[in-house]
Amino acid sequence: MDFVKHIYFLTFFLLLIITSPQKLNAQNVGTIRGQITDINSGESLLYANVLIKELQLGTSTDANGYFIFTSIPPNKNYTISASYVGYESKEIQLVVQANRVTKVDITLKPISFELQTVEKVGQKKIETNNTDVGLQVITMKELEALPQGVETDLFRSLQYVPGVKTTGDISSRYYVRGGSADQNLVLLNGSPVYNPFHALGIFSIFDPEIVNSMELYKGGFPAEFGGKVSSVLNIITKDGNKNKFNANGSISFLTGKVLLEGPIPSGSYIISARKTYSNSIFKKFLNNQDVPLDFYDFSFKVNYSDQETSEGTKIILHGFSSQDKINRDSELSEDYNWKNNLFGIKWLQVATNSPVFWDMGITLSTYQGEIIPKLSNVKPQLNDVRDVSFKANFNYVFDSRDEALLGFDIKDIQTKLKLENNRGAVSDIASKGSQIAAYAKYKFLRFDNLGIDIGARLNIAQLSNNGGNSIDPRINITYSFIPQVSIKLAWGKYQQDLITLTKEDQILTLFEPWLITPDYLQPTSSTHYIGGITLRLIENFSFNLEGYYKLTENLPTVNENKIYDSDRDFISGEGEAYGWETSLGYNDEVINIIGSYSNSWSYKTVDGWIYYPKYDIRHSFNSGFALNIGAGWLFSVMWIYNSGLPFTQLTGYYDKYYVNDIYFNEDYFDSTLPFTLLGDKNLARLPDYYRLDLTLSKKLSISKINMTFIVSILNVYDRKNILYFNRETGERVNMLPFLPTATLKVEL
């Protein structure tokens, strides 16, 4: 019966598209389509602003770097203005012809070191009907202004985004609006990455030097994204310099890295490699523990786009590989090994004379995590994930400026998991499944002050045997009753059936294996309700306020009471999260100030018990200040405040019997040791977290060499932020102390 209902829903949706009141082949109007690129490198500038001055029509480039205007009155001169953070704005004149697509590629010049223009032309025009509630776009220019730390880290930069939480300095795992870490979809150029962490989770595996921009959906994400119920982080890498060969290298306290990029006939390439050369800095993160950790990552992207033989076609080959190893000399100590590999090919086609474009790609993404016990008592663990995905998107922009998207997302996933839990029960789970989803969405953008993104994702087949077919409707609305004020609403349903086996009581976890939701559980489902308001009262000033409510059902939780192999690894729970977030920003040529606050609640219910998950932070406040001193100097300050994380208090001790002699020859009297008794789970709070970071950077050019020297100080006033306290000794283990770091970057 449900399936029939879904078919009706889809039919209605398609009819809505087909019968929408506009003319597909409208006469006497023209279309403008183009790209915004960096004049030096040819790199696409994603999410750049574009404005037709005479019509006061605004838009922005998409994740592929393209923009489009339809229904433009023909045979007139127009001024197209383009801007992007860190670039000089540019205006060009053009004449639009009737019934034709007028192509315009605009190149922008990066601003000099002395002047950091942050002007965004047409911002108000773009945002009045932009259906972007829950979306945060972070460009590399913005990332550069954040404190560097030991390594510039993409995931650590997310902690400055309101609604995104971390549980401390030693882990870059992030939690979005009350969702667990495995509910975050991490995409590299649209391809999933399963373990995006280096060094026990301290850093992300993505070298920021290769990143063009990243978009983070904190909730209410549109129909083209699926498979996860909390958030989507889509990292888009650079194409590589299309005009000249470029090499740069940098060295920090932890890694050395090189990046090569340059043109090839009808295209470009970029290759980057990063490797640890010292691991002494890990002591600062790991309570002075020596860790013989070694990691590398390698990525490449090759673009081919021959406009003479195949206009509008772009072929992209991209790959990524990373490995972390801990190999210890002693045969009595275990070794570790984590590997990610990703390879993909993508075809992007822009129709030459119609407002349509499509892309399709196939990727292979694998992950392997392994604990090799050698002769230690640690249990062997192995997790393999193999994901083959095919995705296709077809976009059409109507003369009315409305947009339609149809797409398919097909996955074949295999997971293998071998482990022995803390009760000695063995799990040996090999599962495979196929996920087939079709999605469609329609964006009503015909009104300047109203944007509606309505869509649905039809899950035809799911990985889990219990998945069946279902439909996930999603809607996102923006209404501006005056240009300065936008009201935004979003609602959507989401499903997930690829999950991690995550121990809730671990604050640092090495092994979070992935597996397909077992047959005895239903796929996790979540419903998001989001509302927000954006104010653009004065130039260079923005204010956002968003509230959300998220209900998650069939939330798999590790069965801590598993005793036998036949016992289930998971039990089902429920999650509830709600809160509100606000952010305030001001920027001009010299100063950039940001401030954000979030007030949130999250709960988990398992076996009738309600408790706060370990990442429940009631209050978060972040503030940042960046000052362009001039002459290549940039100074920035970030201050973070989080109210205390939940923890479980001690209620006393008892004398526990330890089976020290496994043959039971020992006297019982010598086999007891005090053991802690715990109170209600996560009912108490650790002290609040504060951190002040400073960064000073200097860019200079000597001959043809550009150099950047960056000095950062983390935790300036050496705040003793607690990570945890050792229950046996009472020792308080703190997070990062006062930590000065330096990075030198050289560009040829």
Binding site: S333, Q506, G652, D655, G730
Partner: protein, 323 residues
């Protein structure tokens, strides 16, 4: 612009004035918890049970509480088949790990049988009742494919295999040899455990013993036998003082409670994961602790005279199969 900077620096100064470390009180008073421990052993008639109570200290040093936490005057008994055994006698001793005293309840005429259900019940003074159940494991059967001679022909390890009707129970297996040492004319009996292997670290041989596991086999390297035999007379030039009596494999099969309890207690995790809430398995209804059982079996393995002679030792009760 100047105003903005002024406000900003005022804000920074305010932030810097915040305290650098907050106190944390990790304790909260909890309810009374009663702990009952009893492991039934099939290799002896002396069975013990222990009953105690939780306690509270706020200094992270629980050993500073030297009170006896044992509960006296409880009525402890074990039901099985149509019988009951009462743990009516008590004994109080000091724990060498701390200054605390412990009281045990015992019965010295209680031999357990394999594959039998036992019910433990402890009734406290106030009428509170703790209960638990165990079923002793079934006996194992050794397989003919096992090695039965040390050293085995054409192999540098000794392997013994067995089957158990209970697949999901931990097996603790160890090799040992029994020997006599002539000490001033008196033959003194000793036992020496043989690890699976020795690992040489920093010029020291570290024995690597097998942990209890589901494995139904044990393999011991001949190097381990060599080293273990060598160690008993290290520093003693008169090797003929040593008589090697027998090589024995002992297997303990834990019941399901002990299996879970042991696995829980040995939750080592990896070296780098940080777990804040340690798991604590119990099968005691109304309290904490463990009521479990095991069965122990032995497998004798012969040795060649040449092998023992090669160390200078005297072979004991074995036959030379090579002759």
């Amino acid at each position: 612009m100047k105003n903005l900077l002024k406000y900003f620096f005022a804000f920074v100064i305010l932030v810097l004035h915040l305290s650098c470390e907050d106190d944390l009180n990790p304790f909260v008073k909890g309810e009374d918890v009663f702990i009952l421990n009893c492991v039934l052993k099939n290799d002896r008639a002396f069975q013990t049970a222990f009953l105690s109570k939780n306690y509270f200290v706020e200094n992270f040093n629980p050993n500073s509480d030297t009170n006896n936490h044992s509960i006296d005057n409880a009525y402890i008994r074990i039901f099985f088949d149509d019988s009951v055994k009462i743990f009516s006698d008590t004994l109080t001793q000091k724990n060498s790990n701390s200054e605390q005293s412990l009281t045990s309840y015992f019965n010295n005429n209680f031999l357990t049988k394999p594959d039998t259900e036992y019910e433990l019940e402890a009734v406290l003074n106030d009428g509170r009742k703790l209960r638990a159940f165990t079923k002793t494991p079934k006996s194992v059967s050794f397989l003919y494919t096992s090695d039965n001679l040390i050293p085995p022909a054409n192999k540098n390890s000794v392997s013994v295999y067995w089957t158990s009707p209970d697949e999901q129970l931990y097996n603790a297996a160890r090799f040992k040899f029994i020997y006599f040492k002539n000490e001033n004319g008196v033959q003194v009996r000793y036992e020496k455990e043989v690890p699976r292997t020795y690992v040489l670290e920093n010029s020291i041989y570290i024995p690597y013993f097998p942990e209890p596991s589901y494995a139904k086999q044990i393999t011991v390297e001949m190097n381990a036998f060599d080293r273990a035999l060598h160690e008993i007379s290290e520093g003693d030039s008169i090797k003929s003082n040593y008589t090697i009596l027998a090589f024995i494999l002992e297997i303990l099969v834990y019941d399901k409670n002990l299996t879970a309890y042991y696995a829980s207690k040995t939750e080592l995790g990896e070296s780098f994961s940080i777990t804040v809430n340690e798991s604590d398995y119990t099968n005691i209804i109304g309290g904490k602790g463990i009521f479990g059982s095991f069965v122990k079996q032995r497998y004798a393995i012969k040795f060649t005279l040449d092998y023992i002679h090669s160390f200078g030792y005297i072979p004991g009760l074995t036959e030379n199969l090579n002759e």
